[in-house]
Amino acid sequence: MSDSELGRKLDRCLADTVVKIGTGFGLGLVFSLTFFKRRMWPLAFGSGMGLGMAYSNCQHDFQAPYLLHGKYVKEQKQ
């Protein structure tokens, strides 16, 4: 992986993390205010979900060039 490609992937990861944590926090805030009587756990749950999704995306993004894709080939009996 070249330096510029690594930098681009890091930038994408950072942007993705910010958006997903913010979205999770926002969703948690809305649900906390509407259905869960202003409790704190929906905010924590939403932020944690967003962080986990961002981490998973980043992990897949960095591992993608090195993942091998194979398939099973059935033996043909003559």
């Binding site: 930098g7 942007a15 979205t23 999770g24 926002g26 969703l27 509407t34 995306n57």
Partner: protein, 118 residues
């Protein structure tokens, strides 16, 4: 009867607000792939500052207040990535020569002390 209708109305309003937010998140693909989130963030960066500026102007016009203009932020010609990389290289090379340098300085210090004691 009125309280039941009011509680039903409240539930419907809350449900529509929550449903609208969920639909917005789904429509803008904010929880989707990383390139979509990056595009959404770029769209927000393009749209939000002019909108906030126009809102500030509208408030100033309506209330007659004048918000003082902030000075432009200073621009730094400082490349964080390059200086970080060169800093890492410097630190690692210093750590790699640290044991040999420590031996060398210890020997020199010992020689110096021996000469001073003589």
């Amino acid at each position: 009867m009125v309280s039941r209708v009011w509680s039903l109305m409240r539930f419907l309003i809350k449900g529509s607000v929550a449903g609208g937010v969920v639909f917005l998140v789904y429509d803008q693909e904010l929880l989707g792939p990383s390139h979509k989130s990056q595009a959404a963030l770029q769209r927000a960066e393009e749209v939000v500052p002019p909108a906030m500026y126009q809102f500030g102007q509208y408030v100033c016009e309506q209330t007659g207040l004048k918000i003082p203009q902030l000075p432009a932020p200073p621009k730094f010609n400082f490349h964080i990535r390059e200086s970080w990389n060169s800093g890492i290289i410097t630190v690692m090379s210093a750590l790699s020569v640290a044991p040999s340098k420590a031996c060398e300085y210890t020997k020199e210090g010992w020689e110096y002390l021996k000469e001073r004691i003589k």
